[in-house]
Symmetry: C2
Subunit: 434 residues, 2 copies
């Protein structure tokens, strides 16, 4: 006999057993409902895409480091999608003439990144992507921020549990130049430094700043500027303010909706305007949960028509860590509401009939596949989550009755078969979660 | 500027735009509810698995032909799953000691096969997998057949639209030996021939039969035997009947539930007992929609404990072809129920407030992100599927009112803001599909 193969999933990927799946399903369904409530429509696309659509953005070398790639027999270089944006850009470009812009779309794909697995990072993750395509309006920012808050609220998170931190590339450049006094030729390198701001110790930042030509005074001034949030905006000249969408958003929506925080950068290759991150407010777990931003031209690889947009991607791993650490995960739903048990094989058909009627009434109902002693079967039903067991015996059946046992109350009574569905539905009190 | 990249998805894969996604979502949700109604619980697993778990079953050469494989930097040979069974076998083996067998599980993964795309075959498809693990009981067959019929019925298919055709390896061997008079050493090759029975012209079958040693008489006898369905069972000796689960299933369930049809084989590498297929009954489209069977030992690669089971996999492509050709596809749900339109920017905040209240009542509600003329905006709302537009003007707002326009009836009236949610809910008549 051959050796047995290992039963662990591939490194960085996960098996989801039914209990965990049920929790995930409840969380995701809640989020889908909120997102669809705003009029967003779900789409989906292939897991395999041409590798070049990722390499075009981040360069082939970097892409190869993080991409799972393969070559098919037609010599096409393919990649397992590391993110959904290039796919949706392709789809939007292909269908642009038939779409009524702005469009509101969302998806929930699995994505692959070849990373060293660690807390919050896996190789296959599931990411909810929400985007508005085809508008420059600052109302899109406002809608997306409201959507973020409504999604968090629907999961049970209160505003003190997380922070919505928002910056803007245009505003940051203006602040660096006009408030922090950074020479224009250094703003790119300084932005990259700010992108690492919260991930590195201050000494290291100071040393890196020196490396790109900022002396201690300049570094201190930069540091002080970044810590002042929205206040620095008042110091900007009119023409910079006029060019910044975030300034417009603040005018329209006030500052209750989010915090201005210029330390939010989210890389440099991607977004061109507004950028935002949702952070866990717990000081023990002070990290980004998810984020997004605005791009001036989503689908430049696929079409000459500039299509602006704003959106975000919410990965499952950090989200579930957050929900878990704040006690917000729902309980798994039980597999069953009702178990219908025949005392002998002669009552099996009757049990199946009753089970069918209960199912038709929306109750998750099973009949045992194997014959066991009644006490054993009741224990098993209870373990499967059933709250009611219906026992079908020869004598009761001859009288047109069955025994209905309420497992929580540990009570049972005989009932006419015709009343079973109503009686059991009442007993379960409409809280079946089905 | 670089050349634009093509916008078509990779060959054999599909983009799902929102309208199609909505149809798919409705069909799948219906199926999930039926499956969960029987007490089956959903699980999920990784798309990437060790390539050897597929190669072990079908041999490395065959596997490589149909598998998408890649090698990671740790020199692990991985495959994009072509099916879910090896994954779930791994999961069941890993968790066997904590599970209460028999377990009822289902999943809905995307799977990859490297095939030449053609009608009914794509390279990435979505397959609903339903299995009972850990029982030899013929009641499992009966349950699975009832589940199949309930799933089809829930999609609107009547029993005349499809056929559930069932065979059994043990029974087939008995029939070949004891009824068709095939020598025991040829039953393997003859089974393989029967597996091609409905895919090849009779002449070709006859020639192939000759190639394995069946003369014309033997071929005619075989042909006649296969066409007789359940009747041949009566000619079998007792010991063969006693070994066949399907005979037991027939005893318990009668023959209304399915047709016995010994031409159903479903390959030879996989199932060890009952095999079944659901066929489109339309003579124009006479093909298998989906199928499954029983295996004596599911997880032999991963554990020494034999785990029997029965299950089936239902792919999306053939299912949607069937639903389409029988006129059973639901209409796509509209993106919106209600659109709330501010006449000038001054009413935007009020419009957002009203939209929020409508969403809280479960209505999919959007506010325009850009300012357009009212007539244009009403047209756009209608195109997005909204049946109601709420118009917020300065004068009405000052009176605590808004205009509610019913797009279907082409009527509108002023209404107090406090009554809006109730009035619009009534207007939509609870048929929002949300």
């Amino acid at each position: 006999m051959a050796n047995l193969l290992p039963t662990a999933p591939y490194r960085g990927t996960r098996d989801f057993l039914p209990a965990e799946m049920s929790v995930r399903h409840q969380v995701f369904t809640t989020l889908y409902q909120v997102i669809e409530g705003f009029g967003y429509q779900r789409y989906d696309g292939p897991l395999l895409e041409s590798a070049e659509i990722y390499e075009a953005k981040s360069g082939r070398e970097l892409a190869e480091m993080q991409l799972y790639t393969l070559t098919d027999r037609g010599d096409r270089r393919l990649a397992l999608r590391p993110e959904m944006t290039p796919t949706v850009a392709r789809m939007i470009a292909a269908n642009a003439s038939a779409l009524q812009f702005p469009v509101r779309w969302y998806s929930h794909p699995n994505c692959f990144r070849y990373e060293r697995p660690q807390r919050g990072r896996v190789r296959e993750h599931w990411q909810i992507n929400v985007d508005v395509f085809g508008t420059d309006s600052p109302r899109a920012e406002i809608e997306v921020f409201h959507l973020v808050h409504d999604m968090m609220a629907a999961l049970g998170a209160t505003r003190d549990m997380y922070r919505l931190r928002v910056s803007d590339r245009v505003l940051l450049d203006g602040v660096l130049t006009h408030v922090a006094g950074i020479p224009a030729e250094l703003t790119g390198q300084v932005s990259a430094l700010i992108d690492r701001w919260e991930k590195m110790p201050a000494d290291q930042l100071r040393a890196d700043a020196k490396g790109i030509g900022l002396d201690d005074d300049a570094f201190t001034r930069l540091s002080e500027t970044l810590s002042r949030g929205a206040q620095v905006i008042d110091q900007l000249p009119e023409d910079v303010l006029a060019a910044s969408k975030l300034a417009e958003v603040l005018d329209l929506a006030g500052d209750d909706l989010f915090e201005v925080d210029l330390r939010i950068v989210r890389g440099l290759a991607y977004y061109t305007g507004t950028v935002f991150e949702v952070f866990d407010a717990d000081p023990e777990n002070n990290r980004a949960l998810f984020g997004g931003g605005r791009y001036a031209n989503l689908a430049g690889l696929f079409t000459k028509t500039p299509i602006p947009g704003i959106g975000f991607g919410m990965g499952d791993v950090t989200l579930f860590n957050f929900l878990d650490s704040h006690g917000l995960l729902p309980a798994p739903a039980p597999a069953l509401d009702v178990s219908v048990v025949a005392i002998t094989a002669d009552q099996f058909d009757a049990a199946c009939d009753i089970a069918r009627r209960l199912r038709a009434a929306g109750l998750r109902t099973a009949t045992p596949l194997e014959h066991r002693k009644l006490g054993k079967e009741i224990q098993r039903s209870e373990k499967a989550g059933a709250r009611v067991v219906i026992i079908i015996g020869a004598k009761e059946l001859a009288d047109g009755q069955a025994v209905v046992r309420d497992l929580r109350a540990s009570q049972q009574q005989n009932m006419p078969l015709d009343d079973l569905v109503t009686a059991v539905t009442d007993l379960l009190g409409g809280t079946t979660g089905h």
